[in-house]
Point group: C2
Chain length 150, copies 2
């Protein structure tokens, strides 16, 4: 079922994927569960905040990015084995209900795992943009990818 | 309504808060929406993965941490104005259904905003632990906090 392994990944490789429609219902649902700050739940409070209008939790933007990444990885058959973490997240612009998000990725580094002989570690930068082409978020992530079985 | 402003925050200050019970239902719900990788959805697939058993999406752990942070900030009356991002996330150990998570925070740096005279930027490290006292995640976050109105 896997087609793309650690061995196949090339530094500098770029990809573009995804279209995630942000709905008001989902923004409110995520925020009420995980980030109930006033500017993620109330139009009134958001208007007075630095964001200017009701906007998605930054963690919700991460979650929506992840969904686009997993769908893309699954489609491509990438042998993803999870992630040890991220080197950084920049929330550049608010994400509003009605926005349509997409992702541009670039592979920036790769190395074999010292502790797990079957796995390699890959660094990538993910730029999330809205339908206007504005960058709303940049993340620098690390992924564990299985090596091609010999 | 706000009681704690940028001016009140002290570098080196530590706090502990939260108790978030991780349920299997919520792990599956989050993963099916945002991170449908096999080891977050299937006991069978998870058993064969590096995690050993069905575990929460790392983004779900971030979301649960955020809920504990917002509840704590609200209780304390911290004048939180959102966040420009994080300097890093380390997913150290898997989070399993049944785990009870809590947070230890430390304020590590603060500076006034160059562009927004009413706001200061504060760096903090958040260590998320499970009920055994094991560290499951470390994040280094940035927050915008309002200055005390003069």
């Amino acid at each position: 079922m896997f087609k793309i392994f650690y061995d196949d990944l090339v530094i500098g490789q770029k990809e573009a994927f995804g279209a995630y429609k942000v709905t008001r219902e989902e923004v409110l649902d995520f925020a009420s569960k995980y980030d109930p700050q006033p500017f993620h739940l109330s139009d009134e409070a958001a208007k007075k905040s630095v964001f200017g209008a009701l906007c998605a939790s930054g963690w919700h933007t991460c979650a929506m990015m992840m969904r686009m990444m997993v769908d893309h990885m699954t489609k491509q058959g990438v042998a993803g084995m999870g992630s040890p973490g991220l080197d950084g997240i920049e929330w550049r612009r608010p994400v509003f209900p009605g926005d349509i998000l997409s992702v541009e990725s670039e592979t920036t580094a790769k190395r074999e795992s010292a502790s797990r002989p079957n796995i390699g570690l890959v660094k990538s930068t993910y730029t999330v943009k809205n339908q206007k082409g504005e960058t709303v978020m940049i993340t620098r992530g690390n992924a564990m990818i299985a090596k091609r079985p010999s």
